[in-house]
């Protein structure tokens, strides 16, 4: 694994290896001195688009691995002075950086950077295309829920039953890199993906992964679903004003108490964040044990640790034997 850019570029086995390593990290004493060997390795976090959680999550992941982290955002860099991204990454490489984590508002930058430098490049979100480490964290979270017996009533008892899962992604699908990466991941492991939202936020063409159903009728689809992943409406990406108003949206697509009544008792809720409370998902659901949101945040760290380990080829004694 040289780079980590799009989920669809990896086999199920490769993705499973990353998930299993993340799970090992979760159970490991991270204060162990074995990580100190990594101090001479430098990871550059280049964030050319606003981000709080992903950036902090990557920083914590790298620091837990004992890596040296340098932060970098466009406002404080030479990119603002007209330097190209190519020159920026070539400079970082020359300065001895060992891996690049890149968040960009362009779909192409991460692919381009991976061709210009021969060090690992990790995609921390590229425009509307991909957010593979978010998907990996969510994958680990779902695996965890299965192993905890959360879907026992549906006869989903182990990861072998993953393909029985029916997962609904609700909201602003068309602008969502998370939806695309999750959809590619669910396809790899056979789970059924439903895309749900107002028509204007649903794809009008083939989105590139297998979709079981696509509908603007959440209520009808809901009783089937084992997992519901709500998405934020990305107002900043809209090229035309939204036709649907917030009240109507909440009524039809919000994860509300009344909606919960028609869901199965085992149905769990996720959100990649940042979530708008009481529009996309009600506060009391976010804070209930039906919500996996904080687990997603936590697992994103271990998944990013695993991705950094695999791409950078970090050798950490013992961890693989756990």
């Amino acid at each position: 694994m040289v780079n980590f850019i799009d989920i669809e570029k990896f086999t199920a086995d490769e993705l499973l290896e990353v998930a299993e390593l993340a799970e090992n990290y979760k159970n490991f004493d991270l204060n162990s001195p074995i990580f100190l060997n990594n101090r001479d390795k430098i990871v550059a976090l280049i964030f050319l688009e606003n981000s709080t959680r992903t950036r902090i999550s990557f920083e914590i992941a790298a620091k837990k691995l004992g890596l040296t982290v340098i932060g970098f955002d466009s406002e404080k860099s030479s990119l603002e002075k007209g330097e190209t991204i190519k020159d920026t990454v070539l400079t970082l490489k020359a300065l001895g950086v060992n891996a690049i984590v890149l968040r960009a508002s362009s779909a192409s930058s991460v692919n381009q950077v991976s061709k210009w430098v021969d060090i690992p490049v990790i995609n921390a979100g590229n425009a509307m295309r991909s957010h593979p480490t978010q998907a990996m964290g969510d994958f680990v979270t779902i695996r965890e829920a299965i192993s905890q017996g959360r879907f026992k009533s549906e006869n989903i008892n182990s990861f072998d039953d993953f393909s029985k899962l029916k997962i609904g992604i609700v909201g602003d699908i068309i602008h969502s890199r998370v939806a695309r990466s999750l959809g590619e991941l669910f396809e790899r492991f056979g789970a059924k993906t439903y895309l749900i939202g107002p028509e204007e936020l649903l794809p009008k063409f083939d989105i590139g992964f297998r979709v079981e159903g696509i509908t603007d009728d959440f209520k009808t689809c809901l009783p089937e679903l084992d997992i519901i992943i709500a998405l934020r409406i990305q107002l900043e990406r809209l090229t035309e004003p939204l036709l649907v108003n917030p009240i109507f949206y909440r009524e039809r697509y919000g994860i509300t108490g009344s909606l919960l009544e028609s869901a199965k008792p085992s149905t769990l809720f996720m959100h990649p964040g940042p979530q708008v409370r009481d529009l996309e998902i009600d506060s009391d659901i976010i804070d209930s044990d039906r919500s996996l949101i904080l687990k997603q945040v936590e697992n994103s760290i271990y998944s990013r640790m695993a991705v950094l380990t695999k791409t950078m080829g970090l050798e950490i004694d013992g961890i693989n034997n756990l």
Partner: protein, 434 residues
């Protein structure tokens, strides 16, 4: 001459560049030249055609560093071209007698390898689609080609005015088909691939709507209308219907729209960002068919050099366009062969004829140039092609000042080996003579 238009013969060009003999069997001892001075070329299995004519290329020039007349003409010569129509979307736009004369001076001061460069003028001032240029004075100064290429004429009245003004002249009114409202701020074809990548798409309607409108205008007034770089099946259909109904119009397709489809964008490589965008394979097939059934008259390159630093920008902001002069024949020929095996020249006679028609004969006819027939006793003026030879373009082969070729590393079939222009040897064995 058989039905394909290909004739089998040997050919001798004397040291002065005159075609000394064309015959099925030439006896060198009977030639009116000193045979010791003759360089013999083993060209069995090769074909000659009149030099190609490109009705659509961007030579930038003036102050732009992505290309100049010299580098553009070197690329053209290597691609077998003898004549280029240089587009007016220069900076500033070529939209006045002054700017045309300035460009011509620059050309006459450049080493153009014998390639003739003609200057096209914009249709509207500054190419902004509002105020028509001074057609009369431009025509008086021998400008015969008008286009706002890079933008379409969105305003129906402006287009109608241009048509009426040029009605009855021998001038060509060439339209870059791009209806702004449907183009949006797209980056690539609107469809499955753009949806997968989350990139803004360009609807095919951007092209089709404007073409339909123009055809309607042509039914009211007649002008030498030329539809540039068709990219979708519906456009081919519209042109076919219009021609069937008796309207006089011509149209072109680029080698890259024949060769590539939209899936190339999956690489997110800005070198595949071009306008009109690469389309789904079904459109590619329709374009090839349109060329074969003569609906499409011309293959034109839309050669658009961009320096590396701009094509290394994010795909959303990188400029549209790709190189095309050097690879035009091979790309078009390869696409028409569609993976067919070639054992002899006969296996590709039809494809060769189609390319010759679209890259040489038809553009010559449309632009009112000589037909380029190779005649004994006249100056040698032809391109020699080896259809059996494959080529793979590398950065080192590129003569342009820019490197934005989408064909790098791709196997292309057919190779341009020799070019004679007005008796002068320009290309020998695939290499420029100077």
């Amino acid at each position: 001459m058989d039905t394909t238009g290909l004739v089998e013969a040997d050919l001798v060009v004397d040291p002065k560049g005159i075609v000394a003999a064309i015959s099925k069997e030439i006896n060198v001892n009977e030639l009116p030249v000193d045979i010791s001075s003759i360089v013999q070329v083993e060209a069995g299995g090769s074909v000659i055609m009149p030099p190609f004519v490109d009705m659509h290329c961007h030579l930038r020039a003036i102050v732009q560093i992505s290309e100049d007349y010299e580098s553009g003409c070197r690329a053209a010569a290597k691609g077998g071209f003898g004549y280029l129509m240089s587009m007016p979307n220069t900076d500033p736009a070529t939209d006045s007698v002054d700017s045309v004369l300035k460009a011509r001076t620059l050309i006459s001061n450049s080493e153009t390898m014998g390639v003739k460069v003609e200057i096209a003028s914009a249709i509207t001032k500054g190419r902004n689609g509002v105020k028509p240029v001074d057609f009369e004075s431009l025509i008086r100064n021998q400008v015969r080609y008008f286009t706002d290429d890079g933008s379409g004429i969105n305003d129906r009245e402006v287009m109608q005015t241009a048509i009426r003004t040029l009605e009855g002249t021998d001038c060509i009114l060439a339209q870059h088909l791009e209806e702004k409202s449907a183009f949006d701020s797209g980056i690539m074809n609107l469809g499955d691939v753009s949806t997968k990548l989350g990139l803004a798409g360009i609807s095919k309607n951007a092209e089709v709507l404007m073409l339909a409108r123009d055809i309607e205008l042509l039914s009211l007034n007649s002008v030498k209308y030329h539809a540039m770089h068709l990219s979708v099946a519906e456009s081919v259909e519209l042109v076919k219907k219009a021609k069937d109904s008796g309207l006089k119009l011509t149209c072109e397709v680029t080698p890259h729209h024949l060769f590539f489809d939209e899936t190339e964008l999956l690489s997110l490589d800005p070198n595949f960002k071009v306008n009109p965008p690469l389309r789904p394979y079904a459109d590619v097939v329709a374009l090839r068919q349109g060329l074969l059934d003569k609906t499409i008259d011309v293959i034109a390159t839309d050669h658009a050099p961009h320096r590396a630093a701009t094509k290394e920008m994010p795909i959303e902001t990188a400029p549209f366009g790709m190189l095309g002069l050097q690879t035009a024949f091979s790309a078009a020929f390869t696409s028409l062969l569609d993976n067919k095996d070639l054992n002899s020249l006969n296996d590709c006679a039809n494809e060769l004829t189609v390319v010759m028609r679209a890259m040489s004969l038809n553009p010559r006819r449309i632009l009112g140039l000589d037909d380029g027939t190779v005649v004994k006793g006249e100056k040698a003026n032809f391109v020699l092609i080896n259809p059996m030879k494959n080529m793979v373009q590398t950065h080192g082969d590129i003569e342009s000042r820019s490197q934005n070729s989408p064909y790098l590393g791709r196997k292309l079939r057919g190779s341009i080996e020799y070019l004679f222009l007005e008796g002068e040897s320009i290309l020998m064995d695939g290499k420029l003579t100077k």
